[in-house]
Symmetry: C2
Subunit: 245 residues, 2 copies
C-alpha cells in the first residue's frame, strides 16, 4: 500500500442478513478495518444512548465506524435525524440520498454538525442521482463537505466510465462504493471482483493517484445468506493489487 492513502471498508448492506455483531466480526474476519452501517444494522429511530452503545460495540470489535448509509431523506425531519444519529455514533460521513429541495437545509446541518454528506448515485432507474454528474451538479456550489459517494458499479451500469468520474470529481469524493458487475448495462449484476467488466486494478490505481484519503467501501449484493467467500476474494484481490501500487 505504498501509494494508496485510503482505507478498505465494508458497506454493511452487503451483510444485511446478519446482526450487527456478526456483521462487525465478519468484516474483521476478511481483514477490513472500516465500516459504514446501513439502517438494518443500526436503525435510524434508535435513541441516542442505544446508538452510542451499539457504536461502542462495533469499535470494540476493532472497526473504525466512520459512516452510515445509504440514508434516504425525504423531509426535514429525516434529514435532521440523520445528523443527530450520525453525531450520536460519532460518524464522519452520512452516505445519503436527499430530496433536492432539502439541500439548502442539509447544507446548514453539515455546517452545524461538521459531518460530511456523500450523495450516492444509483445508476439506471434512479430518478434523482443516476450518475456522479447529477450529484456533482447539486453540490458543486455548496459547502465542500457536501460531495459524492461514487458508486463504481452503478456508474458502470449507466455505461459511464467510473475512472473518469474519479478523476473529475476527486475533490468532492467523500466515499466510494466499490464492486464489480457482470455487464456494463442496467442488467449488470454483482460478481466477485475481477470476474466482471470493471477494470478494478485501473480503478484502484486512479483512486491512489488522486490521493483519495477516505474509505473504499466494498458492496457485494449477491448471496446475502452466504457472501463471505466472494467478499473475501474481492478484498484479497484489492489487497493484491494495492501491494504493487
Amino acid at each position: 500500500m505504498s501509494k494508496a492513502k485510503f482505507n478498505l471498508g465494508m458497506a454493511s448492506y452487503t451483510l444485511r442478513e446478519f446482526d450487527l455483531i456478526k456483521t462487525a466480526k465478519m468484516t474483521r474476519r476478511v481483514g477490513l478495518t472500516h465500516i459504514s452501517l446501513k439502517s438494518m444494522h443500526l436503525p435510524l429511530d434508535k435513541d441516542k444512548n442505544e446508538i452510542k452503545e451499539a457504536a461502542k460495540k462495533v469499535r470494540e470489535i476493532g472497526l473504525d465506524l466512520y459512516g452510515c448509509g445509504v440514508v434516504y431523506m425525504s423531509s426535514r425531519e429525516e434529514a435532521e435525524n440523520a445528523f443527530t444519529y450520525a453525531e450520536a455514533a460519532n460518524m464522519e460521513v452520512i452516505i445519503g440520498v436527499p430530496d433536492k429541495e432539502l439541500l439548502s437545509f442539509i447544507e446548514d446541518k453539515v455546517k452545524e454538525y461538521d459531518i460530511k454528506l456523500a450523495i450516492h448515485n444509483h445508476g439506471p432507474g434512479d430518478e434523482r442521482y443516476p450518475s456522479p454528474d447529477d450529484v456533482y451538479e447539486v453540490v458543486k456550489d455548496r459547502d465542500e463537505r457536501m460531495g459524492l459517494c461514487l458508486d463504481i458499479g452503478h456508474t458502470k451500469r449507466l455505461g459511464e466510465d467510473p475512472i473518469q468520474a474519479i478523476d473529475k470529481y476527486a475533490e468532492r469524493l467523500h466515499d466510494i462504493h466499490i464492486k464489480d458487475i457482470s455487464e456494463a448495462s442496467e442488467a449488470g449484476g454483482p460478481v466477485p471482483m475481477n470476474r466482471g467488466v470493471i477494470d478494478i486494478p485501473a480503478v484502484l490505481e486512479k483512486i491512489a493517484e488522486i490521493e483519495y484519503e477516505a474509505v473504499l467501501g466494498l458492496e457485494y449484493e449477491d448471496k446475502p445468506e452466504d457472501p463471505l467467500p466472494e467478499i473475501a476474494e474481492s478484498v484479497g484481490f484489492m489487497k493484491g493489487v494495492l501491494s504493487l501500487l
Copy 2:
C-alpha cells in the same frame, strides 16, 4: 496474468473435512481451475474403475485434475500403487514423499508410466526432505521428470528463502505449494495470504520470471471446518498481484 504462465490450483488437503464433490465445488467457487487430490478425497486403495469414475466427476465440475498427493511411499508396493492410481485418474504428477532407497525403483516407474514425481519438502521435523535442497540432491542425477514440489511455507519455516529456491531449482519444479505463515520458524502456522511473513508478491513475481508452467497449489491448513473465506482471500490476493505482473 500477462507474464504468468502457470495455473492456480487447490491442494485438496486444505478441504479435508469435505467430501470429494463438495471439495471440487468449493474449489470452483473460489475461482480455481486445477486440483490435486489427497487420499481422503480419493483413497489410494480404490480399484481402477472407482478411480476413473471419481476423476470423471471432478472433471465434470470443471476442474483440471492434474495430480495427487502428498503420497507417502515406504515400499515398492506403495510406490507401484501410486503410479497405477495416478494412471487410472489420468494425472500428470504425483506429489510424493518416497523413502530414499526406493528412488531407483521409482525412477523406473516414472519412465514406464511417463508420470512426474514431485517430492515434497516438509520443513523442520521432516527427517528425509526438510529443505528443497534435500529433494534436489536426490533427483538432480535422475530422470528430469523427477523433481520438487516446493512448499513455500515449510521452506520459510526452516528459515530458508523460498525465492532463492525457486530460482535455484527452476528446471526441476514440477509442483509448488503456496501459502503464507505467521513466522519464519518451526512455530510458523497458517495465515491467509499476505497476513504473514512471506512476501507473496515477490514469490509470484519470481515464479512468473522463471516461466514456471505448472500449477501453484494453494494449501491452507487452518480452520478445516470453515476455511472458505480465508482460501478465497488468498486466491483473490494472488489474482490481484498477477493482474499487474
